[in-house]
């Protein structure tokens, strides 16, 4: 079955940040340099060429954009200045919007004004909602205890509801990603292939060992710090919100993790912001509006989280509550909008891509072994 070409695809990708794709003359230097490129996954050349040609279905079902971690070496060495690394990034944005069945992602990536507007509106709605909720629950002057403005037990319920929504949205998108992949590559894998490959998922989710294979190690280290801090914070909020919020005495068993995670989050975000402002490395040279929105949102959430804690420990409960509301005004858009529809979604797609690539490899090996075994024995 021939791949039907969409001549407008390269133009479409420009809205997602692709530039200079047409300059590529397919020399393949990029793939010769890339540590992740191999016979099966020719990164990034195959994706570049598919994009130039407009092979939309093929690209839509490709895992390769997710197997690139943007070390930027290909762009540095490209003899034509075709920016393959940034093109891979733009393909990840495009893929994110393709996986998203709601169309929100597409809207966000194609227009930062819409993205910002909706985040601000969500923040305002969250602010009003929690203020009204808080006034119905207790006093602004109480951070914790029986008359607390935002009682942690109830916030906890809200957290879980939000997590449920998030898992649902992301789950839908992940299912679409799987469908695109199996359809485009005509992948037929047995359940055992899926099960055997499962360990790859948590490993690549938590530690990104493939990112570490890139020649530049620093971006991986910063990313790991950010990632582990974030997960730590998530675990604390989801399971230890009560311990985290109660005071004024410090529960070191919980708080030490909170402090470390906060430091990691703020530090990594500041490093990334500084990098993007200074364009200090290839992956910081091009900044899409969505990159700024993401980092600033994360910085707001992290700093307000720390601030409300400090204010509360300092006995300034009213100020702590106001900060808490502001904190939630950041948290809600970040979790409801950025995670399923924005840059955050990659935390699901990247490990999944590594996992699915393994599944495919396993399925093909199994099929080959079966074909070999099925052959009649050769007579001597």
């Amino acid at each position: 079955m021939a791949t039907r070409l969409n001549p407008g695809l390269a133009d479409e990708l420009e809205a997602y940040g692709a530039e200079d794709v047409s300059k590529c003359f397919n020399c393949g230097n990029c793939s010769a340099l890339c540590v992740h490129s191999e016979a099966r996954h020719v990164i990034p050349r195959r994706s570049m060429h598919a994009l130039q040609l407009g092979a939309e279905d093929k690209l839509q079902g490709s895992l390769e954009p997710w197997l690139c971690y943007y070390c930027g070496e290909c762009s540095e060495q490209c003899p034509k200045g075709a920016e393959p690394a940034e093109t891979m990034m733009s393909m990840r944005r495009w893929l994110t919007s393709k996986y998203d069945f709601t169309g929100i992602s597409r809207l966000f990536y194609r227009s930062w004004k819409w993205e910002l507007l909706i985040i601000v509106l969500a923040a305002i709605a969250t602010g009003i909602g929690f203020t009204l909720f808080g006034m119905s629950q207790g006093s602004i002057n109480n951070y914790d205890g029986p008359n607390a403005f935002l009682p942690s037990a109830k916030i906890h319920v809200f957290d879980w509801a939000m997590a449920g929504l998030l898992v649902f949205l992301l789950g839908m998108n992940v299912a679409r990603m799987w469908r695109f992949f199996t359809k485009a590559g005509d992948v037929r894998a047995s359940l055992s292939s899926y099960l055997v490959s499962l360990p790859a998922l948590p490993v690549h989710f938590f530690a990104q060992p493939k990112y570490r294979e890139c020649d530049r190690k620093r971006p991986w280290a910063v990313h790991l710090a950010l990632m582990l801090s974030y997960v730590t914070m998530l675990v604390l909020v989801m399971f230890f919100l009560g311990e985290l919020a109660s005071g004024p005495e410090i529960d070191w068993r919980v708080h030490v993790f909170g402090y470390l995670a906060s430091a990691g989050l703020i530090g990594a975000v500041l490093l990334n912001l500084r990098g993007r402002l200074r364009r200090d490395s290839p992956q910081h040279t091009h900044s899409h509006e969505s990159d700024w929105i993401f980092l600033i949102l994360l910085l707001v959430v992290a700093t307000t989280g720390v601030l409300q804690h400090v204010l509360h420990r300092s006995g300034l409960d009213a100020a702590a509550n106001v900060t808490y509301v502001i904190h939630l005004m950041g948290v809600v858009p970040m979790l409801v909008l950025e995670v399923p529809f924005g840059k955050w979604a990659h935390m699901a797609y990247r490990p999944l891509a590594v996992y699915l690539a393994r599944v495919q490899l396993h399925a093909e090996a199994a099929a080959a072994a079966e074909a070999k075994g099925a052959q009649p024995l050769a007579l001597p």
Binding site: P7, S22, C24, N26, R46, L53, A55
Partner: protein
């Protein structure tokens, strides 16, 4: 003993000869041949030092004959003729013996056999040389007039060039107007100049020149006479057909090309929406707004390259050559499309992009402006299909740069990038006896060293009648033909090799057999001592020797290769004593 004093030089050609042939044995044997005064070997006979040694030996010993046993006569005949001249040996008393291509290289596995063969070849060469007579070059006075056939850009520029160096020029054009293909072109690459305007400028310069006579609706139908002094017969279609004769010293043939016309159904040709690059260029150049074809907007264009060029050899009458201009023409056309208002997606289905030299910039620019390039396999060209219901054209091709994946593109317009074919020119080919190559284009003598000369002396080829090329290359070859014409016509005379046939008038009884067999019309009937005899025009004879064996009375001999010489060479090879 012979009274001759012959010098024999056996070359080792580095190891090319010396590794397989026992050169010392050959030298020793040669030295014992009658008439041999000097026999030597050298590492490289063609080197300056050995040449000087030959000259010194000749002066010292008073040599009157020279034998060089080295490589093919195609390589160094003129080198050693010149050495002979410098050594005061008549250049036609030198013989080249080929002991490399025809001996050492062919018998690398048999050193003894190769040596024996070299001995015999050298002996034959000595025998021939012994029977040589001093010969003088034939000097021909030349007519300082030139005829140019074809009034395209190459012919026009050649005519002007010939006139500018002071020759009178007759320009003959088959059509009723001058200018050829280029006059129909608008924007040309790489300079962006208008083809029609360029040719108009050239044409007015040609028409204004007092030494150029232009005949349009005219054809060269016959040529007689000999080198340096041809009579050309020109048929001119006016109110009635008339013929005139002109006297010329050289003829420049610049009759151009035809575009390849795809067969019905070839790459979908003949269907609405499938056109050639020539038709497409006209369409693009006539557009000022967004590109349209038959009233329909064109959003996607597919170019299919190598249509009518580089066809597989096993196909009957295949054009196996690359047409050279088409990659450039198609990338240039795609840039013209980019310059029109509206976004048009362009796909180039190619075999190899051959935008050579600075035309690479055209390719680079078209790539940057968004053209997509799909490399299809040689043996599997794209197919073009039209859906009978929707009328949609689909190009399907395998893309080698996507690991052979099959791609399907729906296109509004399919452009077949067609090549050049030789023009139908049988009358002219026959009148001038021009050699036609396998591809149907006229052949030069040597692609590198004699690129515009043909085997017909004084007849030169220029432009696309020789091979596909672009207009600037055509003009270059036109000007090369001008300089070659100047080389024979500006001196007022030309020298020809005296290796021609001669008739012994006392023996000849005129039967006409020689005249019938001569391919060059060099033989005519004449009176001598009260009888009819054959006479050979020295300047027309090419020394092919075709007349020699047909003479029933043995009256004809070929100078430089007389019957006696050939017999002596056979004896030498057989080892029969002289």
């Amino acid at each position: 003993m012979s009274a001759r004093k012959i010098g024999v030089y056996v070359c080792q050609c580095g190891g090319n000869i010396g590794d397989y042939v026992d050169v010392d044995r050959v030298v020793e044997a040669a030295s014992k041949e009658p008439g041999v005064a000097v026999a030597k070997t050298a590492m490289f006979t063609c080197s300056d030092s050995t040449q000087q040694e030959i000259v010194a030996d000749a002066r010292e010993q008073g040599l009157d004959g020279l034998v060089v046993a080295s490589c093919s006569p195609k390589l160094h005949t003129y080198t050693f003729r010149d050495v002979a001249r410098r050594a005061d040996i008549n250049p036609f008393q030198y013989t080249q013996v080929n002991v490399r291509e025809q001996c050492s290289w062919t018998h690398t596995d048999d050193h003894e056999g190769a040596t024996e063969k070299a001995l015999r070849l050298v002996r034959a060469g000595i025998n021939r040389t012994r029977l040589t007579e001093p010969l003088e070059s034939i000097v021909v006075e030349t007519t300082p007039q030139s005829l140019v056939v074809g009034g395209g850009i190459a012919g026009l520029r050649a005519a002007l060039g010939l006139a500018q160096i002071g020759l009178s020029v007759f320009l003959v054009e088959k059509e009723d107007r001058l200018g050829g293909w280029v006059s129909e072109f608008k924007e040309m690459y790489p300079h962006g100049r208008n083809g029609g305007e360029l040719v108009t400028q050239l044409e007015s310069a040609v028409r204004a020149h007092p030494d150029i006579t232009v005949f349009t609706s005219a054809e060269l139908i016959a040529k007689s006479g000999s080198f340096g002094n041809y009579q050309a017969t020109i048929a001119i279609q006016g109110e009635r057909l008339e013929t005139i004769q002109v006297q010329v010293g050289s003829i420049v043939v610049a009759t151009g090309f035809d575009t390849y016309q795809p067969a019905d159904g070839e790459f979908g040709y003949g269907q609405d929406g499938v056109i050639t690059i020539a038709e497409f260029k006209k369409l693009v150049e006539a557009s000022s707004g967004p590109l349209e074809y038959n009233g329909r907007p064109v959003k996607t264009v597919a170019y299919v390259y190598c249509v009518g060029s580089r066809q597989p050899q096993y196909e009957e009458g295949a054009n196996t050559y690359c047409s050279r201009y088409c990659c450039n023409a198609a990338t240039h056309a795609s840039l013209q499309v980019n310059a029109l208002p509206g976004r048009v997606h362009q796909y180039h289905f190619y075999r190899d992009m051959r935008t050579y030299g600075s035309f690479e910039l055209l390719y680079a620019e078209s790539l940057e402006k968004g053209s997509a390039y799909v490399k299809y396999p040689d043996e599997e060209p794209p197919t073009i299909e039209k859906d009978p219901q929707s009328g949609r054209l689909t190009v399907t091709a395998r893309d080698l740069l996507s690991e052979g994946e099959e791609l399907a593109l729906d296109a509004d317009l399919v452009v077949l990038v067609t090549g050049m074919v030789p023009r139908e020119n049988q009358g002219l080919t026959k009148a001038l006896k021009l050699p036609v190559g396998q591809s149907g284009f006229f052949n030069e003598i040597h692609p590198k060293l004699r690129p515009v000369e043909t085997v017909v002396d004084g007849v030169y080829i220029a432009g696309c009648c020789q091979a596909p090329r672009n207009s600037s290359e055509s003009v270059q070859s036109g000007l090369a033909a001008v300089s070659q014409s100047a080389a024979i016509l500006k001196r007022g005379f030309a020298e020809l090799d005296p290796l021609v046939a001669t008739v012994d008038l006392d023996v000849c009884e005129w039967c006409g057999a020689c005249q019938d067999t001569c391919p060059y019309d060099a033989i005519s009937q004449d009176q001598h001592a009260g009888k009819e005899v054959a006479v050979i025009a020295k300047t027309a004879c090419k020394g092919c020797g075709g007349c020699v064996p047909v003479c029933p009375v043995g009256a004809i001999d070929l100078q430089g290769y007389t019957d006696a010489q050939i017999r002596s060479m056979i004896d030498g090879m057989l080892g029969v004593g002289v």
